[in-house]
C-alpha cells in the first residue's frame, strides 16, 4: 500500500519548545489512523505539521509525495484539516463558506450541496456562520473539508461539541473514507469511540510516538510495539 505520510525524526518547535521531538510515523493510503495521547503530547502539532501549517525544524517529512522541508504548500490542495477552529467566516452563510472553499480548491460547486446534505446542513444553508450552534459549526467545518474532496483528511478532536446525531454522521463519514479513496488521521481524546473507527493507533507522549497498536478494539496493551 502506498505511503501517504512519512515522518522520520520529525521535530517541530513552538516558541523554542519541541512540540514534536523526533516523531517516526508512516500512514498508508486509505488507512484510518488514530493518534492518541495526553494533553500537550503533540497531537495537534503533528496534524499541523502534516498540513504544512508549522515548519519542520529537523528530520524529514513527506506528505502526498511533497517534501515538507522544501515545499510546505504543495500537498494542500489534496488535504483538508478539521481543527479546533472552523476556518470559516462569521458573516458568510453556510452555503457561501462552502462555495468559497470549493472554488478555492478548484472543486465543482455542486459538491457543496452534496456536502450539506451529507452533514445535515441543508436546513441552515442560508444562515451565517456567526449564528450557528457549536455543533453546526463543527459539521460545517467537516462539510468544508469534504467539499475539497481531499485524499488526506486530518481530524483534530472532531467529536468535540457534536450531539449524538452529529457523532453518528461524523463516524459514518470517517468509516466511509477508505472506500472513497481517502486516508484519515484522527486525533481524539474519545479513544474508545475513535478506536472503533481506526485501523491502527499511534500514541504520542512528550512529542514522540511511543506506541502503535495494529487494530482497533482487539489489541491489549501487551501487544503494543514500543519504539525507543
Amino acid at each position: 500500500m502506498p505511503v501517504v505520510v512519512r515522518l522520520r525524526s520529525a521535530v517541530c518547535l513552538l516558541d523554542r519548545f519541541p512540540a514534536l521531538a523526533g516523531v517516526d510515523l508512516d500512514v498508508a493510503e486509505r488507512e484510518i489512523l488514530l493518534v492518541s495521547g495526553a494533553n500537550g503530547a503533540g497531537k495537534t502539532t503533528l496534524l499541523r505539521l502534516v498540513a504544512g501549517l508549522v515548519p519542520l525544524q529537523s528530520g524529514t517529512a513527506e506528505v502526498l509525495g511533497h517534501d515538507l522541508a522544501v515545499d510546505r504548500t504543495g500537498a494542500r490542495r489534496d488535504l483538508a484539516l478539521v481543527g479546533h477552529d472552523t476556518f470559516c467566516y462569521d458573516d458568510l452563510t453556510v452555503r457561501e463558506n462552502l462555495r468559497f472553499a470549493a472554488r478555492a480548491a478548484r472543486r465543482p460547486v455542486a459538491a457543496c450541496e452534496a456536502a450539506m446534505e451529507r452533514l445535515g446542513l441543508t436546513r441552515v444553508a442560508a444562515v451565517t456562520h456567526a449564528r450557528l450552534s457549536a455543533g453546526q459549526r463543527k459539521r460545517l467545518a467537516l462539510a468544508v473539508a469534504l467539499t475539497r474532496d481531499p485524499r488526506l483528511l486530518l481530524l483534530d478532536e472532531p467529536h468535540a461539541g457534536l450531539d449524538a446525531k452529529g457523532r453518528e454522521v461524523l463516524d459514518a463519514v470517517v468509516a466511509a473514507a477508505p472506500s472513497e479513496g481517502r486516508t484519515v488521521v484522527l486525533v481524539s481524546h474519545e479513544v474508545d469511540r475513535a478506536r472503533t473507527l481506526a485501523s491502527r493507533e499511534v500514541v504520542l507522549h512528550a512529542g514522540r510516538a511511543v506506541g502503535v497498536a495494529p487494530a482497533a478494539g482487539i489489541q491489549t496493551s501487551s501487544t503494543w510495539a514500543v519504539r525507543a
Binding site: G83, T86, C88, D90, R103
Partner: protein, 224 residues
C-alpha cells in the same frame, strides 16, 4: 483557475463580508467624514484657507480611513482561524494579495466619492479638470491599498497589529500623500496640466507596491 479568477474570488468574499457587516458604511465612512468636519471647524475662521488646503485635508482623511479599512481586512481573517483556512485553501499567495487589495481599493473608492462630495460642500471647492483628478484618485487608491495589504499581512499575526500598522504604513505612503495632494491641487486649480507628473509618480508607486505585494504576500502569509 487563473490568478485573476482566484483574486476575484478573494475580493468577492471580502466585499460580501463588508456588505453584510457594514463596517465600512457604519464606521469607516463616518470616520472619514468626521475628520473632514473637524478640519472645517478648526480652520473655519479663515474662510479663504479651506479651499486652498482642501486637497491635502481630503487625502489626510482618506489615509486615516485607510488604516481602518486595512485593519478590518485582516481582522476578518483572524476570527475562527480563517487565516489558516486561507493558507490551506490552495489559493495562490499573489491572488490572495490582489484580491484583498482590490477589495480595500473598492471600499476606498466609495469612501473617496462620498468624501469628495463632502469636500465640495464643506470647503467650497470647484473642479477645473476631471481627468487628471480621476486618474490620480485611482492610482493613489491602488497604491495605498497595495501598501496597506502588504503591511497588513506583515503585522497580521502580531498582538500589536492595531498599533503597528499605522506606524509602518503612514511613513511609506507619504509619497502618495504628496503626489495625490499635488495632483488634486492642480486639477482643482488653474493649471491642470501640472497634475500629470504627479499622476505618473502615483502610477509608479502603485506599480512598485503591487509587484512587491504579489511577490512577498504569500511567504508573509505563511509566517503570519
Amino acid at each position: 483557475m487563473t490568478l485573476w479568477r482566484e483574486a476575484l474570488l478573494v475580493a468577492g468574499k471580502d466585499l460580501r463580508i463588508e456588505a453584510r457587516s457594514r463596517v465600512t458604511l457604519y464606521q469607516v465612512l463616518p470616520f472619514g467624514f468626521i475628520v473632514l468636519l473637524l478640519f472645517a471647524f478648526a480652520l473655519d475662521p479663515d474662510r479663504g484657507l479651506l479651499p486652498r488646503v482642501a486637497p491635502g485635508l481630503f487625502w489626510v482623511a482618506v489615509l486615516l480611513a485607510t488604516l481602518l479599512a486595512v485593519s478590518r481586512a485582516f481582522a476578518i481573517e483572524a476570527d475562527n482561524g480563517a487565516r489558516d483556512g486561507l493558507r490551506l485553501s490552495g489559493l495562490d499567495g499573489s491572488a490572495v494579495f490582489l484580491g484583498k487589495a482590490a477589495a480595500i481599493a473598492v471600499e476606498l473608492l466609495v469612501l473617496e466619492v462620498v468624501l469628495g462630495v463632502g469636500v465640495v460642500l464643506l470647503y467650497d471647492v470647484g473642479l477645473h479638470s476631471a481627468a487628471p483628478l480621476a486618474l490620480a484618485v485611482v492610482a493613489a487608491t491602488i497604491g495605498v491599498a497595495a501598501t496597506g495589504t502588504l503591511y497588513g499581512v506583515l503585522a497580521a499575526g502580531l498582538r500589536v497589529r492595531e498599533t503597528l500598522v499605522p506606524i509602518l504604513l503612514l511613513p511609506v505612503v507619504a509619497p502618495v500623500m504628496l503626489g495625490a495632494t499635488r495632483a488634486s491641487e492642480a486639477a482643482v486649480g488653474q493649471a491642470p496640466s501640472d497634475a500629470w507628473p504627479w499622476v505618473a509618480l502615483l502610477v509608479l508607486f502603485a506599480a512598485i507596491y503591487t509587484t512587491m505585494g504579489m511577490l512577498a504576500f504569500g511567504p508573509l502569509l505563511e509566517e503570519a
